[in-house]
């Protein structure tokens, strides 16, 4: 529904990638952290039911990023049967401004997608504003294509892209070179990932 796309200057926090701790959703104590991050960054309000729906049914797909005990980012997802395919869906992705452009969002998303893949998903999907260059670049690098354009999807009249990632079919699975040594490359990545973003279907 709503995606944040701000470019304003915020005082960045200095940190080494190793200082970021990634944690899988661990229970009720994490919920207020997730809610306050999303509420802070999005103008679209979500009732508490919406959050519970995701984290209760698919706790293994939600991750939080901490820096020195402070929650700085989160990803919330779901997966399930949709017509003939078993597919994952990325519902919310937030990283607070001072921590953006450092690969945190990429890491959060990557972890969730890996779980989806291991759980048997055939594809992953989400929507993003056509103007959200950051999100489009992030997901583009992960192998998502822009499958459809959705006219006036958002209330402010902005169009959306439906992004989809198709996993290779099982026979070709083992031939993928990047799957095995992903973790390190993401942690120590030096290239400039773009702005992080928030999305929700």
């Amino acid at each position: 529904m709503d995606t944040k796309n701000e470019e304003e200057e915020t005082r960045k926090v200095e940190f080494e990638p190793v200082e970021i701790e990634y944690v899988s959703y661990g229970g009720e104590h994490h919920l207020p952290l997730i809610m306050s991050l999303v509420d802070q960054e999005l103008s679209e309000p979500y009732s508490i039911f919406t959050y519970r729906y995701f984290v209760y049914l698919w706790p293994q797909l939600s991750f939080l990023a901490f820096h020195q005990g402070k929650c700085v980012g989160t990803v919330v997802c779901k997966m399930g049967q949709h017509r003939n395919t078993f597919r994952g869906y990325i519902a919310m992705l937030v990283v607070i401004k001072p921590y953006r452009s450092r690969g945190i969002a990429t890491e959060l998303v990557t972890r969730s997608i890996k779980v989806m893949m291991e759980s048997g998903c055939e594809e992953v999907t989400l929507e993003a504003e056509v103007t959200n260059k950051g999100a489009l670049a992030l997901y583009g690098r992960l192998g998502f294509i822009r499958a459809k354009r959705l006219f006036h999807y958002y209330l402010n009249g902005v169009d959306a892209f439906r992004l989809k990632l198709l996993f290779p079919s099982p026979e070709l699975f083992s031939s993928l070179p990047m799957i095995t040594n992903n973790e390190d490359s993401h942690r120590h990545t030096d290239h400039m990932p773009p702005e992080e973003c928030c999305e929700l279907h």
């Binding site: 309000p45 919406t50 729906y53 893949m117 583009g140 992960l142 822009r146 009249g157 070709l172 990047m178």
Partner: protein
Amino acid sequence: MADNGAQEAAVDISVSARASIPFGDNSVWADVSPLLESACKDLRDGDLIHGDNFNLFAAMSALEIMDPKMDSGIVCKYYSVDEAIENGAAPVPISFDKTVDVQRTIDIMDHLLACEATWHKGHSLAQTVFSCIYLLRPDRTSSHALLHSYCRVIRATCKAVISVVSDARTHEEEDLFTMAYGLPLDGDGDEKCLSLLNAVEETTSRQLRACKAQSSRRRVLEDIEPLQTNLDLEEGYCKALLCRLRFRKHFYHVLTSMRRPQGRGLELARKHISSCILELECILKSSEFLRSSACGSCEDVLDDSTTGSGCQPVGFDASLNSRLSAPTPPRAIKILSWKKAIEYFVKLLHDLDILCSYSLDPLLEGVLQFLVQFQKSQPDLVARSHLQLLLLQDGKLYGRDSIFAVITRAAALPEVTKNHNIQKNEYIVQLGQLVINMLKILCTNAAWQRRKLGKMLQDWRVIYVQLELVFRKDFGEVSSIPDDENICVKIFQHILLWVEEQTYWIASRFLILGFELELYSPSEYCMVYWYIYVVLIKLAEKTHLKMATRNDTSKRKAKKKRDSLKDMGREYRIPPAVLFVQCQMFLVEGLTMLLAALANEHMIVQSPSPFNTEQERFIQHFELLQKACVPDHISYPSFKESTAYARFSMPRGLQRRPRVVLPMTLKNWLNSER
């Protein structure tokens, strides 16, 4: 435990008198705060009561009461329209000072224009045009001639526009637009809006003449009360009003003229369109005068003001209709600025003018070209709905030509065949439906259009197969067939060829629209250009075959008439339509090879993605084409094969122009033409 707590709380329920919200007939307000508090104490952190079918949709539809982001009731200033009126939100007259009254009337007219443009652009009628309290209570304005007539024509115009859009309805884009539940669109006497408007225009014209006569010290012939009390401003205000009234009059005429069947009103519509544009220019110019004579404390006019004077209009409240809006909590929307609204209407009028000047080409090829060209300027919903209604009325092209006639012409068959009985064949009928559907889809917004074009491919393949089966079954061998059946054979042959040609045309549009919609990232261009290339090869082939078949037919007839001498020396030229496709074909071939060469020579590097390869992305982008076998025998491996050897530089001894590996049929066909 839970029950006891709740029961105790229930005993304490008291009736609190909230004067501002009235009791209903059979209901009374009761304060349930204590009950809710006890209930809350019975749930632990993380507990949720829900039914089995509480799904995501239910979760997202839920709202937290008194959260202003979700609970629209909390932000309302007034509980109802009546309360707003009682509190003086929409006074009639707007002011007892006639000058102020005129100023405020003009502000209302301007703001309504801005609301109307906002509605056209995709917001609900309830939150835009009908945020005007004067419109919500039609009878209240009857003592105020200007406001009353203007409101009537607005309502009548909205109704006319809704009618066009809902008649053209193809999908959900129109749903929000046409939603008018609970809104007073059918004002009593609104059909006579033009006569009322004319009367008011007449009065204002006389007022203008009177003040001009006065200023030039001529004898005042008009015995008429001036518009307002400040003589210095009389001319300016009369003019400002006149252009606004006239714009509405002409715009209403545009809508009614364009709806006349079979394009009969198009020329008249064009005249009204140019009048509209002239009046809009005047309206824009009047802003300077309005701003300088604005009363009250108007801050510096911001660019996003919704009125020409820069002042806030009286009598609008978008929250009053929040219960009439969509089921989900309505968000506050931003009304377009007055300047942007005028820009919108100018564009709309230009788009409508293009439609009115369209020559109503009987050839499908011409229609398709017109549609593609028209869509390039990204016309909005109202213009596109008019387009669709112009093209298709009563299941006929322009309400005039039967779809079967359109098909036979497109299939390069002689005119006489358009009335042939074969049109009753069930598959021919279905084909007609596919054509109608395709034309409707080509009038929709590009994003929706592309998805539907992709899905359509399957249907066109299927109809081809079905027609081919009928052809084979009924006619088997072509030789030794009596004359009458010969015509049927001819018709089928041509139609089959044309169906293929049309299918490839749809496929090429599907692929090319992807660029317009920014669906491809640069790393995918090579495979997209390649796919367009293989589709265009087929398109050129089918188009050429169809035309060649027609020439064959006419050649045979010529021989019968012993006109063969004339034919003999005639050189065969490739028809322009085919040449055009070939040009595009070579263009995309070049682009494909250029990008492939860049990649092969490592001049553009794509970092591999961690989760999939180029093959998956190929499969995704071209899924619908592959499913429909458009074309057949095309796959990712053939893409890789075709582009594997593209290079910029070759060692002297191995000089060879990089070229795409051509399917055998095309090679032969091209060779036979040279």
